[in-house]
């Protein structure tokens, strides 16, 4: 793999060069059956940052996440993930890169022939480098992270939608990837479960410094993430107003008609005068 620009070099150890973006989209376009879904969109995800992506149903949010993983190829433009150009990589080479990225699918996409343990452990079992006892322990760890310790032997069909979503999160975090892509993790859930999931994502962000793209329909979820931080000692998230010096790495991105109409932080979003965005926020 040759690196196209001098500013981007692959495999930088964490913390050495914090300025290198984790994900870069450069003028990416894609259309399905002649219908353009994304039109030359460009944005970046910085290291340690969480970027929430908004847009109406069918705006192309899930498509962005699938493009970032190389599950689909754009019609034009370039996508760099962890310094590697996924648009130019062959499927065989992508598997290596994908191991460093976690993804939570919109409909969870758990393997229904496997129980919760094997779903969560899938990556570790496939990599084949972890002894069984350690796998078991890490599965329990990941499941206790999402507060589902008692479901290890159940099958996905025996879980509720919210539980499935949390198992999917456990499956994505078990290897502590540098980047996690969440596709509507709170979609269709009750407020209590949603808050639990938000707290999980905030925990992942503040405890492990994971960078993430987060697709959501609910603006209030993203606002909550932008205004709360996770406190390791108490094991809960707290509103930022208790600690105003704290800076939260949270960005917002709004899609409309295949274009990015907003890309910035909360303050900028609140100041934004665009009618559509004002309507969206209210």
């Amino acid at each position: 793999m040759s690196t196209p620009t001098s500013t981007i070099s692959p495999r930088i150890p964490i913390g050495v060069e914090p300025a290198t973006p984790i994900i870069i989209f450069q003028e990416v376009s894609i259309s399905f059956d002649q219908k353009p879904v994304l039109r030359e969109i460009s944005f970046q995800l910085e290291r340690g940052e969480t970027k929430a992506i908004f847009g109406v149903a069918g705006a192309g949010k899930s498509t962005i996440l699938k493009l970032a993983l190389g599950l689909m190829k754009p019609d034009s433009g370039r996508i760099l993930v962890l310094g590697e150009d996924v648009t130019a990589m062959k499927e065989e080479d992508l598997f290596e890169l994908r191991r460093k990225v976690g993804m939570v699918f919109q409909e969870s996409a758990l393997f229904d022939s496997l129980n919760v343990r094997d779903n969560v452990a899938f990556r570790l079992i496939e990599e084949g480098q972890t002894p069984p006892e350690e796998i078991e322990q890490r599965v329990r760890e990941a499941l206790s992270f999402v507060e589902l310790q008692n479901t290890v032997d159940l099958f996905p069909s025996e879980l509720s939608g919210g539980m499935r979503r949390r198992v999917a999160i456990a499956r994505a975090i078990i290897t502590h990837p540098e980047v996690i892509l969440y596709d509507s993790p709170t979609g269709g859930l009750d407020p209590v479960t949603s808050t639990t999931i938000i707290e999980l994502i905030v925990k992942q962000r503040d405890v492990y410094g994971t960078s993430s793209l987060l697709v959501t329909h609910r603006l209030q979820d993203a606002f909550m993430m932008a205004s709360h931080y996770f406190d390791k000692e108490s094991g809960h998230m707290w509103p930022i107003k208790d600690d105003p010096k704290r800076k939260i790495p949270m960005k917002f991105l709004i899609l409309r008609d295949g274009k990015i109409i907003f890309d910035g932080d909360v303050q900028e979003l609140e100041k934004c005068k665009d009618e559509y965005i004002e309507e969206y926020i209210s």
């Binding site: 993983l69 599950l71 598997f95 191991r99 993804m103 699918f105 229904d112 990556r123 496939e126 084949g128």
Partner: protein, 260 residues
Amino acid sequence: MELISPTDFAKGKIESLQEYSALAGNSIVSLFGRPRYFADMIQQADLIGFGSLPIVVLTGFFTGAVLTLNSANSLERFGSLSLLGQLVSVGMVRELGPVLTGLMVAGRNSSGMASELGSMIVTEQIDAMRALGTDPMKKLVAPRVASTVIMLFFLTIISDLLGLVGGSAVASLLLGLDYRQYWSSAWQILKFQDVFMGLLKPLVFGFIISTIGCYYGLSAKGGTQGVGRATTQAVVASSVIILLVDFFITKFLMAMFGYS
């Protein structure tokens, strides 16, 4: 109904053919690549091999039996009933054993693969697998292809044997013929060429059944309805292709071995 222009139709067909060839080729390459999925292969072999055993036993036995009934009737008219064992054995080993076993397994497993992989496609489980860094070609397709080829080979042998047993049962119980004469003529007539042809076919058919099943499954589109469609198409396509390919293999091998 939407009208499609003939060129688009042809383009679509050629594209599917290309995709299928890519999958078929890739499945062979994956068999030799790493990682290998032995556990998945054993699981599939169990599902395909032991799962299909009852139907293969029944089809084999009754095909042999009915072939004997029919042949006995025809041979009697020519006054050469002693050839019965030979007729049944050549017919079973060269043609009916492989083809009928192939068709039964196509009906059972090609559809099973298409619906399983199809459901995995429409519920994004295949995408999830790719996202988790595992190649579905290696994890799902290659073990299915390998175990279908191997198991169909053995199932065909079982079917051939049961066909002969069925024939012998009819010959001795219903027609009152000497079963020792039946068996000795059945064994003696078989030449290397017959056995070779009869054992090459299941290898080819197994490859067709599994790659077609996987291909239709992996190209399923449009929710559960799409999975249903993929399943039907897989059975129809694999059955028809088995019968077509059977003709060409037979013709080719006959030419090669110089049968008259």
